[in-house]
Amino acid sequence: MNKIWLIIQREFLTRIQKKSFLITTILVPLIFPAIIGVLVYIMKKEAESAKADTVQVVDESGKFVFENTKRYNFVPLPLTIDKAKDAYKQTKDFALLYIPPFDINKPEGMIIYTKENPSIEKVGGLESILQDRIRDLKLEAYKIDKETLKSLKVSVNLKQINISETGEEKSSNSGILYGLGFALGILIYMFVLVYGIQIMQGVIDEKTSKIVEVIVSSVKPFQLMLGKIIGIASVGLVQFTIWIILITVLSSGVLGYFGLKMPQKQAMEEVAKQVGDEEVKQAMDQQDKQINDLLGNLSQIPFGKIAFVFVFYFMGGYLLYGALFAAVGSAVESMQESQQFQFPITLPLLIGYFGLFMFILRDPHGPVSFWLSIIPFTSPVAMVGRIAFDVPTWELILSMVLLIGGFLFTTWIAGRIYRVGILMTGTKVSWKVLAKWFFMKS
């Protein structure tokens, strides 16, 4: 036991002392706030530098009353279009808009003259101003006033409430649950794969550097394998914990710096200030309510339980696959050689990963989802993706027990292959050879 502890220590310390560990541990969390920061920065800069474009207008229809907006300054010209065109050439203005007399049911013939090719956005902006005005003209023609039109617009949000067998009501939000399941499932998948491959690399290194014979003359091969698996797991947990802390601190730090606690809300407030429109205020109130609902739903999600389940399945899945990766590492002499075994052992993990999208997130309580989250090879990804959707306790316990059994089983198999594999060099390894090693008496 003491020796396994020594091995765990070495595996852990040598890895966290590496520069690459330091770099990934610090850089990965920086990516998110950096992206947020850059985006916010660009948005702010753009908003500051945005200047209204001047658009000269020749309106022969007489149907338009242009109001200046944030983006456009309209200058009506009491000229004919030909003269206006000549005059426009002398100015530095953005565009000249020509509106001939038209039928509101068939608005045609409008032209925009510019000196450079305008962006599609700017043209689109002008188009929508024209469209809005024509729509208003039509409404007048149909004798519908604006108030009637406003009352036609409705917005509905279904409040979701789960009724459990005991009659307890819980409000829920499948959007949040979907996101949570999606994120957690992918995290487990990535962790198992990334750290599993680290185990394999470590075993291959020991084998090719020939140190393994010295080590196994001091400890049992099984102790060495277990120590390595646990040592790398602790590196993973430490890295993960640092990431969570850093991402949380940095993200809120960046948002705080730019004074955008709730970017969307602030943006709307600004719009409301400028426009002073009742509609926007109403929408804002509705959104406030939605945010409150959302916060209410979030508080109903059992994060403590989810965190526990996540850590459990992270460890379980990692141990289950880690042992298999160790066995493969012991059998081969290079990463290339390991390819032929890597895919088959990660196939179940991949099935769990696809199952997450195809079944679990769409139908978390269907039969396929049930089996995916029970079978030990797929359950680490599947159950973690499903847990936010409230899994019956018996299913969870069954799945956990099976996962423990599963990793004991794979560790046992891997241990038998490992003890022979690490001392074998120059053997062409196939599945048959692995099976032979497995059955070899010790």
Binding site: R10, T14, I211, E213, S217, S218, V219, K436, M440, K441
Partner: protein, 324 residues
């Protein structure tokens, strides 16, 4: 054929009794028995693939034998014996990314030393090899010979009573080989027993007290080096003499070869029939020629090794070789 050395006053560092190991395709060790007396340097000889490494791995408990028994200082082989064994495998290596000091500390602790003791001993050994300033060097920055020194230190740090060295000199330049030889002799002086697995007959000749020869999974020879050489004496003599105009009675002697050194100075290899001792040969020669030098031609370990391995499996040829 095998000589079993039995010295009642010494303790046996290791006794192997009828050790057999069978892999699916072949028998790696076939009923091998060995006795290794304490405080000796024991040469475990044999061609590649003979089963030496298998035996060494069984002693190190890396693998188990199918049958038979190993006794270490009179005790049946058990897990904590690894703490009194130091093993330098032929295929050796270190963690490339680890520093020399950390590495030695780790390996010593795996052998059961406390961190404190290990620290103190590492310092002593680094000083012995005059490499004190290597503590913070990474192994990947060392030359092969330098790494071998570190590896040797890691083998003996825990002051093992039984040290197993598999081809210890491979990778060393002559200067360092000499240094290692000195350390090995020093370890023997201090009471360690050393098992030495090698093909290099000159090292066997100079270092080993006892030898065993394993060929094709079987032990075919064992005993103190002197005794083995004695056993392979063939009553052959090398004489330098002046003039070659003489004949020896053919019922007593057979001339195996004669070369002229210079002028009328000749060198003759002479084999005498059993029962005729060196003195008798001199007596017979003095009367008929002028003897310049006289010596009994003893077989070298290389002669014995090659002869036995070649002849193994061909009893007639082996007998013949012994007679020659």
């Amino acid at each position: 054929m095998a000589l079993i050395h039995k010295n009642p006053t010494s303790v046996e560092a290791l006794i192997a009794k009828n050790v057999t190991k069978v892999y699916s395709e072949h028998t790696a060790l076939d009923n091998v028995s060995l006795t290794i007396p304490e405080k000796t340097i024991f040469g475990l000889l044999g061609p590649n693939g003979a089963g030496k490494t298998t035996l060494i791995r069984i002693i190190n408990q890396i693998i188990n034998s199918d049958s038979g028994e190993i006794l270490i200082f009179g005790e049946k082989l058990k897990p904590n014996h690894i703490e009194i064994i130091g093993y330098l495998p032929e295929e050796r290596g270190l963690y490339k990314k680890m520093k020399v000091g950390e590495q030695l500390l780790y390996l010593a602790q795996l052998k059961g030393l406390s961190r404190k003791d290990a620290m103190a001993r590492i310092k002593i050994w680094l000083e012995k090899f005059e490499i004190k300033d290597w503590w913070h060097k990474k192994v990947e920055d060392l030359s092969k010979g330098m790494a071998q020194k570190v590896q040797f230190i890691s083998t003996v740090l825990h002051e093992p009573k039984l040290i197993i060295l598999d081809e210890p000199f491979s990778g060393f330049d002559p200067v360092n080989a000499q240094l290692i030889t000195e350390k090995i002799l020093e370890l023997k002086e201090n009471g360690s027993t050393i098992i030495f697995s090698t093909h290099r007959m000159e090292t066997v000749e100079s270092l080993c007290d006892h030898i065993a020869l394993i060929n094709k999974s079987k032990k075919i020879l064992e005993g103190p080096k002197k005794q083995v050489k004695e056993q392979f004496r063939s009553n052959t003599f090398l004489i330098e003499h002046r003039g070659n105009n003489f004949t020896l009675p053919s019922e007593k002697y057979e001339v195996k070869g004669q070369t002229r050194i210079e002028d009328d100075l000749y060198s003759t290899t002479l084999k005498a029939v059993d029962g005729i001792k060196g003195n008798q040969v001199i007596k017979d020669l003095i009367d008929i020629t002028e003897v310049y030098s006289f010596q009994e031609k003893l077989p070298t370990m290389a002669d014995i090794f090659i002869g036995l391995v070649k002849a193994d499996g061909d009893d007639a040829l082996r007998k013949h070789l012994q007679e020659v």
